[in-house]
């Protein structure tokens, strides 16, 4: 089947099977390998992308379901070489170590700001329950998202 998507601002059409997951369409067909497959049960969040502005675990969505949708991946955040505030916050606050969960964490952080505004650290911790990181112990991810949220509010 053919699926039409707008991905990171570009219109694309891809041929997939009816069982192709969105994560595989992005990674294998469009070679956008920033979103990662960390589990198969939508528990880890490494595959998180924005679909029509909402954070979605792309391992739990068929490519066909995303037909006609606007998808933003980690590769689509930086504009003209300038990092998105949430990206910058992760580097500034050492919110990553191996970097595998990081794209999902950043996308979730952006969605969190959309839903909760400049949330405090306790809110960030509870909102992060669906994204796993094995390296950082979350402390600096929480700080990064809280700081990124403040910066996004400042930029808006």
């Amino acid at each position: 089947m053919t699926v039409a998507l707008r991905v990171n601002g570009e219109d694309v059409r891809i041929d997939v099977t009816d069982r192709t997951l969105l994560i595989h369409a992005l990674r294998d067909h469009l070679r956008l390998t920033g979103a990662h497959m960390g589990c198969d049960t939508s528990q880890c969040g490494a595959c998180t992308v924005l679909v029509d502005g909402v954070a979605v675990k792309s391992c739990a969505m068929l490519a066909g379901q995303a037909d006609g949708c606007e998808v933003v991946t980690i590769e689509g955040l930086a504009r003209d070489g300038a990092l998105h505030p949430m990206q910058a916050a992760f580097a500034e606050h050492h919110g990553l170590q191996c970097g595998f969960c990081t794209p999902g964490m950043i996308m979730l952080g952006i969605d969190l700001v959309r839903r909760r505004g400049a949330a405090d650290e306790a809110t960030v911790r509870s909102e992060l329950a669906g994204n796993l990181c094995r390296c950082t112990g979350y402390q600096n991810i929480v700080k990064a998202i809280a700081a990124g949220a403040r910066d996004m509010a400042g930029a808006a």
């Binding site: 580097a91 170590q97 191996c98 595998f100 094995r134």
Partner: protein
């Protein structure tokens, strides 16, 4: 501290990760790519009576099905560390073929592999491979493995016993225990864990038939070890024609250090089908087959004199090896465990007996700390049991028994290099407001909560070496590390490092070191790692050993500077011994002229201002550093928990960690390592437990729905402090910090829970149900 070294420099590698440009193995798609899917045993113990690949071969897209028959002649999986039993006999190694053909011994053991045009086609076809099994009875618990009448896993290995090892003077321990004023005994389990790096294992093998060159992209902590194994042991290609690439690796934690059958099979498959073959584990495969950690059953006895000083410690451990001995599985519960049983204390006599047993479970190998957490858990738990028995405060009993003079020779082989254990204790008590705990406990009690405090002190051994000593203990490989420093004509620098970063930030810390040593901007330095075509030799990273690769880098820099001084002596026309190098500039008291580092580099390549028969042109130096001893980081942790007696839920209300890692390259990165280690240790204490069904040996905890991973909402904000007793075992005084958090935190948390509940012990993980049953024995029945 320099301009960069010792400071919280932001990581140079982060740019690609935060923009989705990291390159992990599964991101690599090669021309004519094929995909592999493994056929795995659904039974934990069974005889294979038939295998029919024909139905799979009819499936769309299938290129090849490989079974053990296609690997005839390939050797069995090796165990890399020889342990001798106390009677002198060599350990008994159960044969582990790459693909099972006769018997399977754990759920998930690979039996065949399907290679197809797409991932989905490979998976569909793997399900169509028909394998007939005759089920056999199973044994899961290491405490049951040696019992009479239990299923026997390997022919000619009686009682499932791989070895019966000992360390220390048993007679001296028994004599001391016999006359001790106090004796306490404790039986405990160290729960089996699943490492769970977020990136599952993956590989992509490509055979170039023309050049007879094999390239394997692999998520691994030690690509050099794999190259040696794949060439010298498996004969897949000659060593100089075998390239292993471990690019960005999404976490290791020990589980990406062993040699696994799947990656080897994929390499053979690539040669067979003459196309690139890629395999990426799904999460359930990772749960089933990534080497597990811990799983000990231990009885310990501690003897004390009337003043609460330790006299002797006797430890008897049964260690679960799983169905087979993994690459370093034999090493973990012996020389990485028994050697650490002195903890931070003067204990005049120590004896450790370890029996390693086979069970119908996934092989067990290194997991963050690997042996040292198990040792710290035994010591730090029994010390608290003793403190409670004789009525001494848990901090005070430690203070009374600390080692104070270094170097210190323990009765269990190791010689500690440096430390200030009391300094760390004082830091931890201040950080945690230990003195204020009674008031917090009373306040919690008023809210109906049970509050407890737990102290734990750990010491670990990092930077494993030197090679000659390790060989005497059964090691099969050199334990040095290497660095090659290449200074280019315009003064930029490449460092080819034999260490491997899978999250530890070497691209930054090594660059900090080199930038300061050469006095050049950190941006002018690039660290190259993880590619055996670029780096000739190394040992990768595990066991918090980056100090070894860091020292090799430092030594190579010194060689560059020494050559620079010789070159500059000619350029300045002064005696060589008058040339000094500091802050990036060569200078001499004999002249006012100076030469910046970059100009020296240009001159080294121009080679027209010094005699090239005396000094060779160019500016490349390498170093192999074989450490004279381990390094011995240490620390004291204080956990404070609050338990809700109505639900049994334990909350870690506060956690303070005072660590001594010697000289620190980057405090921001070190703090991050501690956060992560503490979280894994708290996970072990409260939530994480790999559980097999006792009757079928099916893995019950095979997904994130069932395995209790730490999440952001269950953790306190960690309070950290650092002491600094530099290590004399390397030129930089560094010790290593990667595993510490996971070593000290499980006993700290359990000590706190036992304090809250006023009990001697409960086994990890302290899940709500277990705690609730303890609090409500009648209701629990």
């Amino acid at each position: 501290m320099g301009r960069n070294f010792g400071r919280p420099v932001r990581r140079l590698e982060d740019g690609r990760f935060i923009q989705g440009n990291g390159r992990f193995v599964d991101d690599v798609i090669l021309p004519r790519q094929t995909y592999a899917a493994f056929v795995r045993s659904p039974y934990a113990h069974a005889r294979i009576t038939g295998l029919d690949a024909a139905p799979a071969l009819q499936m769309p897209g299938v290129v090849r099905v490989m079974t053990a028959a296609d690997l005839a002649g390939a050797p069995d999986m090796p165990c890399g560390w020889m342990i001798h039993s106390r009677d002198g006999a060599e350990m008994k190694v159960g044969s582990r073929p790459l693909l099972a053909s006769d018997t399977v011994r754990y759920v998930g053991e690979p039996v065949a592999v399907v290679v197809a045009e797409s991932r989905d086609q490979a998976r569909d076809a793997a399900e169509a491979v028909a394998v007939d099994y005759d089920e056999l009875p199973v044994v899961v618990d290491c405490g049951d493995a040696m019992a009479p009448g239990m299923p026997q896993l390997h022919p000619a290995i009686s009682d499932n016993l791989a070895y019966d090892w000992e360390l220390g003077d048993e007679a001296a321990v028994d004599a001391a225990l016999a006359v001790a004023a106090h004796r306490v005994e404790l039986t405990l389990r160290n729960n089996r864990l699943i490492p769970n790096a977020m990136e599952p294992r993956a590989c992509n093998a490509d055979w170039d038939a023309q050049d007879e060159k094999l390239t394997v992209w692999m998520t691994h902590q030690n690509p050099f070890g794999m190259r040696t194994l794949y060439s010298a042991y498996y004969g897949l290609a000659a060593e100089h024609s075998l390239r292993i690439v471990s690019p960005d690796v999404g976490g290791g934690f020990g589980a990406k250090a062993p040699n696994y059958p799947e990656e080897v099979v994929v390499a053979f498959a690539a040669k067979l089908v003459r196309r690139p073959v890629k395999w990426t584990a799904d999460r359930t495969e990772a749960f089933l087959t990534d080497a597990h950690g811990r799983d000990h059953l231990t009885t310990a006895t501690l003897g004390l004199d009337a003043e609460g000083r330790f006299l002797a410690l006797k430890v008897d451990t049964i260690a679960n090896m799983g169905g087979y001995l993994s690459t370093t599985g034999s090493l973990i519960p012996t020389y990485m465990y028994g050697t650490m049983l002195s903890g931070q204390y003067v204990i005049p006599a120590i004896h450790c007996r370890t029996r390693a047993v086979y069970t119908n479970t996934c092989p067990v190998d290194a997991y963050r700390g690997a042996g040292r957490p198990e040792a710290a858990y035994v010591v730090e738990r029994i010390v608290n049991v003793a403190a409670r028995a004789i009525g001494v405060d848990q901090a005070e009993i430690r203070r009374r028994n600390f080692i104070r003079d270094f170097p210190y020779q323990t009765p269990v082989l190791f010689e500690y290099d440096s430390g200030d254990y009391e300094g760390s204790l004082n830091q931890a008590l201040a950080l945690s407001d230990y003195a204020g705990f009674p008031a917090r406990k009373a306040e919690a009690a008023a809210r109906g909560k049970l509050r407890g405090i737990g102290v734990a002190a750990y010491v670990e051994a990092c930077g494993i070496g030197p090679s000659a000593i390790l060989a005497k203990l059964g090691g099969g490989a050199g334990m040095w590390d290497s660095a090659e420093v290449r200074v280019n004509p315009v003064g930029t620098v490449e460092v080819l490092s034999g260490a491997h970063s899978h999250g530890q930030g070497h691209a930054t810390t090594l660059a900090q070191l080199v930038a300061d040593r050469f006095g050049v901007p950190i941006e002018s330095i690039r660290i190259v790692q993880g590619d055996t075509d670029r780096i000739q030799a190394g040992t990768g990273t595990y066991g918090s050993r980056a100090s070894v690769g860091m020292s090799a880098t430092f030594n190579a820099c010194e060689k560059i500077i020494a050559k620079g001084r010789r070159i500059c002596a000619h350029l300045l026309q002064v005696p060589e011994d008058s040339v000094r190098f500091a802050d990036g500039v060569f200078a001499s008291a004999a002249t006012n002229k100076t030469i910046p580092f970059g100009e020296m580099a240009a001159a080294a390549h121009a080679a027209n201002a010094f005699p090239t028969r005396e000094i060779e042109p160019g500016l490349v130096e390498s170093s192999f550093f074989d450490p004279p001893n381990f390094t011995y980081p240490s620390g004291v942790y204080v956990a404070e928990v609050e338990i809700d007696p109505l639900t049994g839920v334990t909350e870690v209300a506060a956690f303070s960690a005072a660590d001594d890692f010697g000289i620190i390259a980057n405090p921001m990165i070190v703090e991050g390592q501690i956060h992560g280690g503490l979280t894994q240790g708290i996970g072990q204490a409260l939530w994480e437990e790999c559980r097999y069904d006792p009757d079928t040996a099916q893995l019950i905890t095979a997904s994130y729905l069932d395995y209790g991973m730490p999440r952001a909402d269950g953790l306190p904000e960690f309070r950290l402090a650092f002491g600094c007793a530099p290590s004399p075992s390397n030129p930089l005084g560094m010790k290593g910090c990667g595993e510490a958090g996971a070593i000290g935190s499980p006993p700290a948390v359990i000590n706190a829970i036992c304090d809250a509940l006023a009990i001697d012990h409960l086994d990890m993980p302290a899940r709500p149900e277990k705690v609730w049953r303890l609090l409500h024995p009648k209701a629990a029945g």
